[in-house]
């Protein structure tokens, strides 16, 4: 029962908060739960880090940040935690993930995203990070040239939502 209600709430949340005087009340009425319950639920899920972030989700392209590069690095396995944390804390880095190498096709194991107002802006930021932190290993810069779709991930408001599996992580 709780799982079902959780899925209904998340499905509604994925569509975004209504912009009106009592948005939680409106949303709760649509879901069929209590306003206070809904607010507590969102708070609890944030505490549990299931909701990573709750707030305004901006379209950075529309705001003039049209250049974006995925910068990928080949970092020695024993250094990946240190370098990963280092890059994650740079102001200009918005995402920083470890992903697998797929040899011989793909040698890079650390992925960062850097946004800028134009290509030069992004290139300057990359150079500055590399110099400042003496990153001399192999890397590559993959500028995006076209965006075919940029939607947030929708787990609960898609037609497959009832099959969603929750995982327990520490």
């Amino acid at each position: 029962m709780f799982q079902q209600l959780k899925k209904s709430i998340l499905a509604r949340l994925e569509k975004g908060l209504p912009i009106c005087e009592r948005p939680y009340l409106k949303m709760a009425e649509e879901i069929g739960c209590d306003e206070q319950y809904l607010m507590n639920f969102i708070q609890q899920q944030q505490n549990d880090q299931f909701i990573r972030r709750f707030g305004v989700i901006v379209q950075h392209r529309k705001l003039g940040y049209t250049a974006n590069a995925m910068v990928v690095w080949d970092i020695k396995d024993e250094q990946i935690d240190a370098v990963g944390h280092l890059l994650a804390h740079q102001d200009v880095v918005t995402l920083c993930y470890q992903r697998p190498r797929v040899l011989p096709y793909w040698p890079y194991n650390l992925f960062t995203m850097i946004h800028g107002k134009n290509r030069d802006d992004v290139e300057r930021k990359i150079l500055s990070i590399r110099q400042k932190h003496h990153l001399q290993g192999p890397f590559d810069v993959l500028f995006s040239t076209r965006c075919f779709s940029q939607n947030g991930a929708k787990y609960f408001s898609s037609k497959l939502s009832m099959e969603v599996e929750f995982k327990h992580v520490k």
């Binding site: 908060l17 305004v56 989700i57 705001l63």
Partner: protein, 160 residues
């Protein structure tokens, strides 16, 4: 002033603050827009009107949640090499697959990159197979092993 700077220029400083300051920990109270209004010393109506404008104009996609992909379903970052003459049609077909989002052309031998999210691992593998049918090539699947960043949103009013 470039066209892009102009875009930002069309927004008031107040609009930028509304975009910048509430990307996380959106107020959880009965009247959140009133709460925000009080912090700026403006009326609740003014805040609601500006957020409606920003959403309608596409500056914000929504006031909503970002979930932790590690705790839910299955997801991966996928990459394929597509011949340039085929790219438009392939990208279009890939975007239509259920669960595909953030589909980008990038400058690399692997020139099409997209994120797949699925309710579970089985469905994820099905989507990858469907993508391989469309592209007639192997899809590189690069699922997240570890996340290092904290999602703070997208800083607009920074000094850099």
């Amino acid at each position: 002033m470039s066209e892009l700077d102009q875009t930002i220029h069309d927004l008031s400083n107040f609009d930028l603050q509304l975009l910048d300051q509430y990307q996380r920990n959106f107020p959880l109270c009965e009247r959140p827009f009133k709460f925000i209004a009080e912090s700026f010393d403006v009326t609740e109506n003014r805040v609601i009107e500006r957020y409606k404008f920003l959403e309608k104009q596409g500056y914000i996609s929504r006031i909503g949640v970002v979930l932790d992909p590690a705790q839910i379903g299955a997801s991966t970052l996928a990459a394929v090499h597509v011949e340039s003459s085929m790219l438009d049609s392939v990208a279009y077909q890939i975007s239509l697959l259920d669960g595909v989002n953030h589909n980008y052309q990038r400058e690399h031998f692997y020139n099409l990159w997209f994120v797949i999210t699925a309710p579970n691992q089985h469905t994820l593998q099905e989507v990858i197979k469907n993508a391989e049918k469309i592209t007639h090539t192997r899809v590189l699947s690069l699922p997240m092993i570890k996340r290092f960043h904290i999602d703070l949103g997208f800083k607009l009013c920074s000094s850099n």
